[in-house]
């Protein structure tokens, strides 16, 4: 972090501007990758990260989610972004509950 960081914001304004400039003048990125990287930075300005943004980006640019994911993978491979996968505990619990419910139902059938 080089610039003066504002209160409650994770990035300094100067750093952000330089980051946008870096995305724009990069010779190694395609236009789509630059679009995605810029949009991701915009979405991350407030919290420092963006979650569940692939769908939003796909709709915003009018492209498929597959293209967004491919672009995110390319950006991650270049070390420009970090893609973090977090467990969705509710979905996992639901799977376990489903299994138990099925087991109980089968048990009842066998008993009857």
């Amino acid at each position: 972090m080089t610039g003066a960081q504002q209160d409650n914001y994770p990035f300094a304004a100067d750093d952000l501007e330089t980051a946008y400039l870096g995305i724009g003048v990069s010779r190694n990125l395609s236009v789509l990758d630059k679009n995605i990287a810029t949009a991701l930075l915009i979405l991350s300005e407030r919290r420092g990260s963006a979650s569940g943004s692939a769908c939003k980006l796909a709709e915003g640019f009018g492209i498929t989610e597959e293209r967004v994911y491919a672009s995110l993978r390319r950006l991650e491979a270049r070390g420009l972004i970090k893609v973090i996968y977090e467990p969705d505990i509710a979905a996992l619990i639901a799977q376990g509950d489903d299994f138990r419910a099925n087991r109980e139902r089968l048990g009842d059938d066998e008993e009857s």
């Binding site: 304004a13 952000l16 501007e17 946008y20 400039l21 995305i23 724009g24 003048v25 010779r27 395609s30 236009v31 630059k34 679009n35 990287a37 810029t38 949009a39 930075l41 915009i42 979405l43 939003k56 709709e59 915003g60 640019f61 009018g62």
Partner: protein, 277 residues
């Protein structure tokens, strides 16, 4: 020089960077040049006149790419306004279109909320080169075509007794004309006389696929005969009749290559060509 009231704030430049980064349908070179132009913009004086050579050196692009990119930025995407010779040392001066960039960001924010796709999809479609070929009136509505596309090249299949009247050159330079028709009535291979309409052979209404197959078979045996040399082919076009053509086409349709075999056998039988020793 730009007036003080027209000078942008730091926020305008920040918005411009985001708008450039979100711009879709723009070329990579134009995006690089756009960012470089913004970086050269002097917020105090409004001066923005980097030379083409300077931009090319900084970005590692060729000068023609820089010119093409500035043209795209100014004419296609309207992100900058160019004033030729408007800068220092008669350099071109550029002025970012702050209003358009702001509207792009507003549009983006709106799309993020509503989840709607971008309204303008023009940039995703490549501009097609306009066709330069001539129009063909194949329906016979206005003018009948002078060339009949659906028959083998070099073979006149008319039933008016003009079989073999193809204008194929003889060795002495004259045109082959076995009938008593005047020479000027045929102008080149496969063409019909301009003046009077030519009677078409009676058409048997087959399925579309059958017609296509017949045409393909006719083209195949005709090409095969052409490959036998100009001397053989000139004797062939004089000799061939509708009966031979139809039989050859039928044989060709039965088995590939049989059309040519049939014609060669018939020509040998009639003494048109001699078998090689």
């Amino acid at each position: 020089m730009t007036k003080k009231a027209d000078l942008p704030s730091a926020l305008d430049i920040a918005v411009a960077r985001r708008a450039l980064g979100l711009c879709t349908g723009i070329s990579g070179g134009a995006l690089n040049v756009g960012f470089a132009l913004l970086e050269h913009f002097n917020r105090k004086t409004g001066q923005c006149d980097p030379s083409v050579v300077r931009l090319a050196t900084i970005l590692g692009l060729s000068e023609i790419t820089i010119k093409r990119a500035t043209k795209e930025l100014c004419d296609v995407h309207k992100l900058f306004q160019k004033s030729s010779h408007g800068g220092f040392s008669n350099r071109a001066s550029y002025r970012p279109n702050w209003g358009r960039m702001r509207s792009m960001i507003v549009d983006w924010d709106k799309r993020m909320v509503t989840g709607s796709p971008p309204e303008n999809d023009e940039a995703k479609v490549s501009e097609m080169t306009p066709s330069t070929d001539q129009k063909r009136y194949l329906q016979g509505i206005k003018n009948d075509p002078l060339t009949y596309w659906n028959k083998p090249i070099g073979i006149n299949l008319n039933t008016d007794g003009a079989c073999g009247d193809t204008g194929f050159p003889h060795a002495d330079g004259g045109e082959t004309s076995p009938t008593s028709e005047p020479v000027e009535s045929t102008k080149g291979l496969g063409k019909e006389p301009r003046g009077e309409p030519v009677a078409q052979p009676p058409k048997v209404v087959d399925g579309k696929n059958m017609r296509i197959a017949k045409e393909a078979a006719g083209r195949r045996w005709n090409s095969a005969m052409l490959r036998r040399g100009s001397g053989t082919y000139s004797r062939f076009v004089v000799w061939v009749t509708d009966t031979h053509s139809d039989a050859a086409t039928a044989a060709e349709m039965r088995r590939r290559g049989d059309g040519e075999r049939y014609l060669v056998e018939q020509m040998l039988r009639d003494g048109v060509v001699m078998r090689d020793a």
